[in-house]
Symmetry: C2
């Protein structure tokens, strides 16, 4: 849970609602019930709590403690909207945060361990009364570099790993993405999602790769939260359909991509929070159209020149 | 027509066969007859002429003149195989080259204007007895920056423009790729292909975008020639099938992507020249599998949470 101050070529926002749990929950809420666990300070605005409520996100696990909410500030671009520079990070109430799950949360069928210290991710997993059907985790370079051994321990215990391409490369010390994904897969997770920003993502499910497209956008405002929003759509689709087949995972990845396309069209959650079911489905259909080509029939050949 | 000296993390080659016309012709020759126009020096090796002949590329338009063949040398990576630094360029016999088409070539139904000065591209187009059914061009930043006005003049007269993402951005002064492609489309060409290296390409055909995937590769040896090889597969498919429908252009783009996947797996033409029809078709099928997901049926919805 964060207040972000962000500058991009499209403008800037100060102390706008952000944080992994925020983007994930609101994206996921379009498909399945979500219950979040997180911490905020005394400065957390009622209007922001209201935004979760209006999306039927269960905020009973939102701890409000003395002090200030976590703050991050950064600048994107200007040349490349995907290049970001962190200007400041203030841990504030997040510094001493130890997530505590309620009895209801301990029996959730689906658990997302958002980007946080691997030791805390492991602790949350241990609090579950029984192993959820699906456990997913996200992380960042900070933990890969500083807490690599602990992170490997958590990775071994989850089903789905989300990393961006740089994280996957650095975690596995493999420059090649296919090799990196295979290395993570061999550690235990049945599913690895390598996020590539505007280039979409690669889903590896049981060793089968799927190239997930990104919705081509003419106006990208702010990429903050795209990865967590992707994860929210992905797990929301799986939680709602309980379709854990290869086809289900592929659709989950496309749903993640669709949700991410909304969040980057505005600062903070300005666009994501407004996305309607009709708009979501329309972009899902658009991605099908954008990627469809006629495969070769079984007995068909490409033109072959006689030589 | 060039001799390239290339260093990548996989090794190096000195004075290896290269050049736009080379990569294009050999890729295209898998699908349709090709007749090339180009210039080489006295140092051009018989074995290299033989390579064209073994692919049934018509080399009657290959001029051999006094002096040395064009030379380029560069280094890729090491961090990112897509980042390249030019170490040296020697124009040699290319400096005074003025392409002359034979009578047979002047009635070709399909013309590819490879990366060369825009004024020469225009001159070649003027030599055609009648307007070919398809005229395509490739270019590079050097011409965009130095001969922008002439380049625009040629672009207006062609059907298909190939540019990589940086070229498209700089040519149109638009950071966003969708806007850049639309801008080029509005200048005249019915088809714009924006190449994105390992991320594939975006095909814009009559204003309809298609996200062309790239074959995910575990071992990229040398990206030199990938763009021209893509163009060779693309136009080879169209020339052979004469299918100028949206579906035909999409398959052409996938064929281009398939051919590019071979050339980067070796230095120079080491891998491309060995690609068999069976291998080409197998990768075409692989790309269909890698990108396929179940679209929503007309009356189907994504899961919607009641709220």
């Amino acid at each position: 849970m964060a207040y972000d101050s962000v500058e991009t070529s499209a403008g800037r926002r100060d102390d706008a609602l952000g944080g992994s749990a925020t983007f994930f929950s609101v994206a996921c809420s379009n498909f399945a019930p979500v219950s979040l666990v997180g911490v905020v300070g005394e400065d957390f605005r009622d209007g922001d709590v209201e935004l979760f409520r209006s999306h039927d996100v269960d905020v009973s696990g939102l701890e409000r403690v003395e002090g200030q909410t976590f703050r991050w500030s950064g600048v994107y671009g200007p040349e490349d909207v995907n290049t970001r520079t962190t200007l400041d990070t203030q841990l504030n109430v997040f510094a001493d945060f130890a997530p505590r799950l309620s009895d209801t949360q301990r029996v959730s069928p689906c658990l997302f361990l958002a980007n946080i210290a691997p030791s805390l991710q492991l602790d949350v997993l241990k609090q579950m009364r029984e192993r959820p059907k699906l456990v997913a985790l996200d992380t960042m370079n900070f933990w890969i570099e500083g807490n690599g051994a602990e992170l490997k321990e958590v990775v071994r215990q989850v089903d789905i790993v989300f990393m961006d391409e740089n994280e996957a490369r650095s975690f596995t010390e493999s420059v090649n993405l296919m090799q990196a994904a295979r290395a993570i897969h061999s550690m235990g997770p049945s599913t690895v999602v390598v996020k590539r920003g505007e280039h979409g993502a690669i889903l590896f499910h049981d060793g089968q790769p799927f190239l997930t497209p990104a919705v081509p956008l003419e106006h990208v405002i702010d990429p903050t939260g795209a990865g967590d929003t992707f994860a929210g759509g992905f797990l929301g689709y799986l939680a709602a359909t309980e379709d854990l087949s290869e086809a289900g995972f592929r659709r989950a990845a496309v749903t993640g991509s669709v949700m991410a396309s909304f969040v980057v069209e505005g600062f903070s959650l300005e666009r994501l929070a407004e996305a309607t079911s009709e708009e979501i489905e329309s972009r899902f259909r658009q991605l099908a159209t954008l990627t469809r080509f006629e495969p070769l029939a079984e007995d068909e050949s490409l033109p072959r020149r006689n030589r």
